[in-house]
């Protein structure tokens, strides 16, 4: 008994010592990291209540009631929105707070886009305002299709769909290349996306030291955050590292043991379950936002509204995907990747180091997924369980484009992204992903090789 206690105590001691080291490292990063400015006196939570009407205009709501509680359910206070829809409620200190919208106080016909999200959790940092949003719509916006599919709406949704498609494409290319070169359908690919998202989150909030703490099982807020743009670089590195590690320590040994592809597929499923619940363990269940660039007002280009962050991330995605295209078409490594995907035996007998190419594909796939995760987290929310939904959409994209083809995967991703968003004009928003998945099944009925695939791949 005492032996167990003693081990436990040394364990705790050990953890304490580790914490000390981490704090030391974090103080180094305090000097380097830009830190978080403390402009306001005291902490508060804030939101802005506006709804989107049929024309897409955002109309402020006056007198909407929001209550604030701690995650344990202790009531902090409440507030009503002003004429601009703004609302700010002071809170006793830094921490997480849950804002609950009283839907009874909303104007007639205005509802939450997701009726179940009447509460959102927000994080308040020292001296800062924790902001959150309640996405509100006029109740008939998504259902009313008879008199109101305007060109503007279609364009707006197409732009949002393209954005989603680009982000999905970052994951889809990696999944498709890994399938092409190894024949493995990687069910844990989406966990690399979430991994990138979480790495960026922890770097963004806590810097390098906080990230190490996160690895050691301490999501406690210490250390200084670094700007999301830099955090994204670490996310890319994290994704690449995970891809490298998965191939080196899991799938290369399995290939060498001669474990069949079906067994490997089940291994990827086991891996994704473990990773997903490790993410839940260290990140917690409630979705959160990055520290930077979360609340931005949209700018209007032509007749389409887009936030600067979406414009920049979408632009970056295009650049990166073009870069990947150039890599695949022009460089020796890229040609080797395509050669291995095309005919592995022929590539091997032509002197290509197939295992090295496979390793590069895993690293490339991982880094693209990691960055994609940052973009998705920025455009939606950072969450531990976003991976499964993304995985299904990536599957839809990859099957649509043709399993095993890199460019097919990209085309498929764009079609799926635009399809999902534009379909909300005709079907309820909550079913938009169902449409994409139904499309996946329809594609297999009529053109199983996908848009850019060849018939010989499928049978």
């Amino acid at each position: 008994m005492t032996a167990i206690l003693a081990t436990l105590r040394t364990e705790i001691e050990h953890r304490r010592r580790l914490l000390g080291v981490l704090l030391l490292i974090s103080s180094i990063f305090l000097i380097w990291g830009p830190g978080l400015a403390s402009a306001q006196e005291g902490e508060s939570v804030a939101t802005r209540l506006r709804f989107e009407n049929v024309d897409g205009d955002r109309i402020p709501i006056e007198g909407g009631r929001v209550t604030v509680e701690t995650p344990d359910g202790e009531v902090i206070g409440e507030g009503f929105s002003d004429a601009e829809g703004n609302l700010e409620i002071p809170v006793p200190g830094p921490g997480n707070y849950v804002l609950t919208l009283d839907v009874e106080t909303l104007p007639e016909g205005v509802v939450l886009r997701d009726p179940e999200r009447v509460s959102t959790e927000t994080q308040v940092l020292e001296g800062q305002v924790g902001r959150t949003i309640f996405p509100l719509i006029a109740g008939d916006v998504t259902i009313d299709t008879d008199d109101g599919v305007s060109l503007r709406q279609v364009l707006q949704l197409s732009v949002e769909g393209l954005k989603l498609g680009l982000f999905l494409g970052m994951g889809a290319i990696g999944l498709s290349l890994i399938f092409g070169t190894t024949g493995l359908v990687n069910f844990s690919h989406s966990e690399m996306i979430v991994w990138g998202m979480l790495v960026a989150y922890f770097f963004n909030f806590y810097g390098f030291a906080g990230f190490l703490g996160f690895m050691a099982g301490w999501p406690a807020p210490f250390g200084a955050g670094i700007n999301l743009a830099f955090a994204a670089l670490f996310a890319i590195a994290g994704g690449a590292g995970m891809g490298y590690a998965m191939d080196k320590w899991i799938f290369l040994p399995l290939r060498e043991r001669g474990v069949s592809l079906i067994s490997q597929m089940v291994v990827t499923i086991g891996l994704s379950l473990i990773l997903r619940y490790v993410f839940l363990f260290i990140f917690g269940g409630s979705p959160r936002f990055f520290a930077d660039y979360t609340a931005q007002s949209a700018i209007t280009i032509g007749i389409v509204d887009i936030t600067p962050k979406d414009l920049i991330t979408a632009g970056l995605s295009v650049l990166i995907l073009v870069g990947v295209g150039v890599l695949l078409l022009r460089t020796k490594l890229g040609k080797a990747m395509r050669a291995v995907a095309d005919n592995r035996d022929l590539a091997e007998s032509s002197g290509i180091d197939v295992q090295r190419v496979i390793r590069s594909v895993w690293v490339l796939g991982g880094s693209l997924a990691g960055l994609g995760g940052v973009f998705i987290g920025l455009s939606e929310q950072v969450s531990w369980n976003i991976g499964f939904r993304m995985l299904l959409l990536i599957f839809a994209a990859v099957v649509l484009g043709g399993l095993g083809t890199a460019f097919g995967a990209l085309v498929g991703a764009l079609v799926v992204g635009v399809g999902i968003q534009v379909s909300t004009l005709f079907i309820p928003t909550e079913l938009k992903n169902v449409g994409a998945l139904a499309l996946l099944i329809l594609v297999l009925v009529f053109r199983p090789q996908g848009i850019l695939g060849r018939a010989e791949r499928i049978g």
Binding site: S260, S263, V267
Partner: protein, 336 residues
């Protein structure tokens, strides 16, 4: 703060109860279905939970929507699962096996999303789920709902004991059916297709049609699992049928041994015993302060099951794909 404070008797009783409870029956039936799919026909079904959901909703809706009698409701549940198999199988069974894997995992999620949508609320009651269907079944039950039944320390309330008894009878019938079928010419053709589809086709067997039949059979058995779930929990909620459940069924199948008729039952009993034992022990360790809450609290103990299932699935598949009782030669690991 001592190990002595841990109530091992309680933990063991709980574990044994869970090992034979209706949940184990649900897993056993779903895994027997998967065994028909993967073990005998070599089909990669990663959406078994979709079949389970179809069975449960088919039975529930027959009573809440169409007021059928309970026996017809069970038949309707089976028909639901069979239709789901047709929808999935017709487009994908001509393709390579990983396409079926992708389509089934997506289709199972479609079922859940549609069932919980507000559009379907008038029919499926959305996220709340169905629960008015239970009355007619309670009337059939010979057990009094409030009384306690069981053997020694292993006890069930009458309302659940009905599901336990019906469930194990269904497991027995399913095992008999599968055992007889696999000994029949039909079973030999299905296994031949698993081993070498081209050879089976060269002998004039319609591989596509046989695979479709196997998909339907396994799906309907999985659907029975959904009905036992509905009886035991007295509710059919969409969020019970989440995707990871399929992989729990896979673990149960592989644990027992792929391609052995009764092995999934062994897998289900062992799985529920182990998981309940580990979780109850973990919870008591937290309660006794032996695991500090800074490391893990009670709700996180419950998440451990996903780590265990993930790790066990991966390790078994690599080091002992035939599980406890299967034979490696019988496994369709190189299926197309």
């Amino acid at each position: 703060m001592t190990l002595a404070a841990i109530d091992w008797g309680f933990i063991l009783t709980q574990s044994v109860t869970q090992a034979f409870d209706f949940n184990a029956v649900v897993y056993a039936l779903a895994a027997i279905g998967l065994n028909v799919h993967f073990g005998y026909a070599g089909l990669l079904n990663f959406g078994q939970v979709g079949f389970v959901a179809m069975g449960a909703y088919g039975m529930g809706l027959s009573i809440t929507l169409w007021q059928l009698n309970p026996f017809l409701a069970v038949v309707v549940g089976m028909i639901f699962a069979a239709i789901f198999a047709l929808i999935l199988g017709l487009p994908t069974l001509r393709l390579r096996s990983d396409y079926l894997a992708i389509v089934t995992i997506a289709a199972a999620e479609i079922v859940r999303l549609i069932a919980r949508s507000t559009v379907m609320r008038p029919i499926t009651r959305g996220a709340e789920g169905l629960n008015e269907f239970i009355g007619p079944f309670r009337d059939l039950s010979p057990f009094s709902a409030s009384e306690i039944y069981g053997l020694g320390p292993i006890e069930w309330r009458g309302s659940q004991f009905f599901a336990v008894v019906v469930g194990w009878i269904l497991v027995g019938l399913s095992l008999l059916l599968v055992a007889q079928l696999m000994r029949s010419p039909w079973g030999r053709v299905v296994k031949a297709i698993r081993e070498d589809e081209d050879a089976a086709r060269a002998l004039g067997k319609n591989a596509y049609w046989y695979k479709l039949q196997a998909l339907i059979l396994g799906g309907v058995i999985g659907g029975l699992g959904g009905m036992v779930q509905a009886l035991g929990n007295a509710t059919v909620q969409p969020d019970f049928f989440v995707a990871p459940l399929t992989f729990f069924f896979w673990l149960v199948l592989i644990l027992g041994g792929v391609g052995k008729v009764w092995a999934p039952v062994f897998g289900a009993v062992v799985y529920w015993f182990m998981i309940t034992f580990i979780q109850n022990t973990g919870r008591q360790l937290v309660d006794e302060g032996l695991i500090p809450t800074s490391i893990m609290d009670t709700s996180q103990i419950d998440q451990i099951r996903f780590w265990i299932v993930g790790a066990a699935l991966a390790l078994l598949m690599v080091f002992r794909p035939q599980g406890f009782f299967g034979s490696r030669e019988e496994m369709a690991l190189d299926a197309r």
